[in-house]
């Protein structure tokens, strides 16, 4: 059965690591939905967050193949309900007739306007990917000029950490 899941991967913080990881996905035919990478609490490691869908076979192969890469230090599937966040910058048309509706949406979604002109505005939204999806849908009628999403970052709830899991 296909299920969405999130993998958190600790990797060496060195040149070419992301290439090694993504090249393995291509080679083994894994399709991923999103991937983010960034620094961690330990400078020698980076953390890659991968969201993807697949059955048990895909999930196990993905984990085992990742573990075989020398640059990978730890791989874990996050719990069913981890804390997930994504950030989006979205540029929309600022037409006078729509301005009030856009500002209401910004308010309700606890987003913020970070650039403003009489022609357009740029809005920053943070939250669960589903919240971001909903905000995009809401903005569509007003005219989306450009948008950019970071992909998911995620942590398990509680005091568990990847390295002590």
């Amino acid at each position: 059965m296909e299920n969405s899941f999130i993998l958190a991967v600790y990797v060496d913080n060195t040149v070419g690591v992301l290439t090694r990881v993504t090249a393995m996905f291509t080679r083994r035919g894994f399709n991923i939905d999103a991937l983010t990478v960034g620094e961690t609490e330990r400078s020698e490691y980076s953390r890659i967050t991968i969201s993807m869908a697949g059955d048990k076979y895909v999930r196990e192969q993905m984990i085992n193949q990742l573990k075989k890469l020398e640059v990978v230090k730890k791989v874990e599937v996050l719990d069913d309900a981890p804390i997930k966040r994504e950030l989006m910058l979205i540029k929309v048309k600022n037409e006078a007739a729509n301005r009030a509706d856009i500002m209401t949406a910004v308010d309700v979604y606890r987003a913020s306007v970070i650039d403003y002109s009489t022609e357009g505005m740029c809005i920053e939204v943070t939250g669960n990917p589903s919240k971001i999806d909903a905000f995009v849908k809401l903005m569509q009628p007003f005219g989306i000029l450009e948008m950019c999403r970071t992909g998911i970052v995620a942590l398990d709830r509680g005091t568990t950490t990847l390295l002590n899991k």
Binding site: Y57, Q61, Q65, L69, E70
Partner: protein, 559 residues
Amino acid sequence: MILNGAQILVETLIEQGVTDVFGYPGGQVINIYDALYEYKDKINHVLTAHEQGASHAADGYSRATGKVGVCIATSGPGATNLVTGIATAMLDSIPLVAITGNVPNSLIGKDSFQEIDITGVTMPITKHNFFVKKIEDLAPTLRQAFSIAKSGRPGPVLVDIPKDVQVGKCEFTAQGVVEKKPLPKVKEERIDEAVKLINEASRPYIYVGGGAAGLGMGKEIVAFAEKIDAAIGCSFMGLSAVPQESERFLGMQGMHGHYASSMSQNEADLILAIGVRFSDRATGNVSKFAKKSKIVQLDPDSAEINKNVHVDLGLVGDIYDSFKRISEKCVEKSNPAWLDRVRELKQEELAFEAEIAAADGAPLTPKQVFDIINEEKLPASVITTDVGQHQMWTAQYVQFDKARRWVSSGGLGTMGFGLGAAMGAYVATKDPTILITGDGSFGMNLNELATAVTYKMPIVIVLMNNGVLGMVRQWQTLFFGKRYSNTVLERKTDFVKLAQAFGAEGYLAETPIEFRKAFQKAVKANGPVVIDVRIDKDEFVLPMLPPGGAIDDIITKVK
């Protein structure tokens, strides 16, 4: 002491116990070759005719001994010429360290003369690779390369060293040989689960693969098979891992495996798989593979569990340790009905083999060639092959008398592997070395004859010459309506004269008597000998499971 990078490289190789390396000089490794000149009393460099030959030689060296093989090439084309050899080692889990030179750091990324991103090129075909940016990193990186190559599931590692790092100077202190990282031991309750499954079985089959080939556990496997009254079979890579004189040993299974071995595996109710990866060539259609059987798999690589075939129990860790603990805990069993069935299958196999032999009217048949090789080869001979029909006949017919005597490209199926690999195996063991090849494969890298002559390597080259690309032709006969597209060679090469031109000896053999005489002379020669063995172009490798087919589709005769 303060040394330059090239000296540090050679010192580190010596420190890691390397006594022989294979390679070819060039612009960006001149400094390394200068250091090799300086250290020539401590490290033997074999100059091959082509970098590909050096990579296969390092591979053959490793297969025959278990040591890490080392090859050296210059940047650009030198490095890319190693690629097929590295990929060959990767697919068969052979520990190699490939050293390449590169342009200096200041010229990297500028499309400089003979610059290639070889770490990028080899990323998918190495276990890991390194680009050494600073001389301070050189010795630690090389030590790590050896550790990675031989630990866990072994594999090739490439270390790319730019010219300025070879020239730069740095403090060096020799250290000890890096040890393999110990593999985890399987938990006792998992061992008990395996024991329970084996104790419950009445038709057990022990399936031995390349992962067991180097562990020297052949006699223990036979003793365990006797204890639980099991049959033994092996994968292509598992040949020479188990002593063949045991009547329980049924030989290789799979696409061109022995009939009795494949059939018994299909009828077994328990398969104990030791260091195998269930390649498509071994299983055929996985959805129909060994359906009546529970499978217990021992492997160092967790990614091999459930990758190709779903197993009932996968024990990841030290294969030998798991096997020993399982074999001690299992109860003695007697399975007379199973052994009778296995013998019956063996009789069927002998019967159709005899039928094929009787129908073959050729003056010299492959079976006759291998009977003579088995009778006349010297003890402890290393058997190397290229790829194709001759390789499968070798796998089926040759009798091995020692572990690590089987040197053949399994996973990648590299035509042109054999001569380089034979040179490496000979340098490593100094034991009698036989290359069985075909006219197609031999044509790919026969330039290495020059190397074998120069270094007086007494390699017996049995060239099974049928004038066609036999294995592809066999598929064309069976599955493509005899449309022999580009498999009829029609070359005019005189292999006897060719051998002589290289400074080797060459004999022609068209009958069993001629072949026996030629082979007897060849095993006593002081340098390489090519025996041009003429066989018919329509000999078949049988039995055959068609690609993607199941055991019921087995082909045992061709009309």
